[in-house]
């Protein structure tokens, strides 16, 4: 299975957040329109809906091209992704004038390592199994 390696890597990367996206979108919609949460979540929904899955796909592509041949751990490589996504997410929210609750920013030093751990586990087991199925790495 040596054909279209980049495409397979991209698709394996994009698959996991796309599945979770259903849950994320459902939670956001429920909170906003059922419980009438007064914060305009739909303003920043483009970030988890469009940006994050594509970054996952590109990150896995990067892994397949440069790091898999060097036997770099996929879990650790994926665990580093929040270091890129967190500031980008903050920037998008800031540019779209989304009111970020101040206590969320105060908890960022705890939230970032938690996000990195979750990403490490998701990349190691979920993306890793997809990569193995598709013969990547």
């Amino acid at each position: 299975m040596n054909r279209h390696t980049y495409l397979r890597a991209y698709l394996a990367g994009i698959a996991v957040p796309t599945v979770f996206l259903v849950i994320v979108a459902a939670v956001f919609t429920l909170v906003r329109y059922v419980y009438n949460f007064p914060i305009p979540i739909e303003r920043v929904l483009v970030f988890p809906m469009a940006f994050v899955p594509n970054v996952w796909g590109l990150w896995n592509l990067l892994y397949a091209v440069f790091f898999a041949p060097r036997h770099v751990s996929l879990g650790i490589f994926g665990g580093l992704l929040p270091l890129l996504l967190a500031p980008l997410g903050y920037t998008v929210a800031h540019l779209l004038q989304f009111p970020i609750p101040p206590h969320v920013l105060q908890l960022a030093p705890i939230g970032l390592p938690i996000g990195m751990i979750l990403y490490y586990l998701a990349w190691k087991y979920l993306v890793g199994s997809l990569n193995a199925e598709l013969g990547i790495g």
């Binding site: 956001f28 909170v31 609750p101 969320v104 908890l107 938690i114 751990i117 087991y125």
Partner: protein, 78 residues
């Protein structure tokens, strides 16, 4: 009796029409036997999760219980 014959003819015509409309399957059998592959897959040991990863998962779960306000922020980045 005549009506039955007419119905039978109609069904025969319809059957022929349907057969003609559907192209015959070129290769109904598989190119190779997939059963050995399936057996090999079944014999594979299940993926073992090391204690370190369980610890990390438990720590994360505990952190989210203590700081539930982080859950929307994490969902936003997922």
């Amino acid at each position: 009796m005549r009506g039955n014959q007419s119905n039978q003819d109609t069904f025969d015509d319809l059957r022929e029409e349907l057969r003609g409309a559907l192209s015959p399957l070129g290769r109904p059998e598989l190119r190779r036997d997939l059963w050995p592959l399936m057996l090999r897959r079944l014999e594979k040991p299940p993926v073992g999760v090391p204690w370190f990863d369980w610890t990390l998962l438990a720590l994360t779960g505990a952190a989210l219980v203590f700081f539930p306000v982080l859950i929307p922020a994490l969902l936003y980045h997922l």
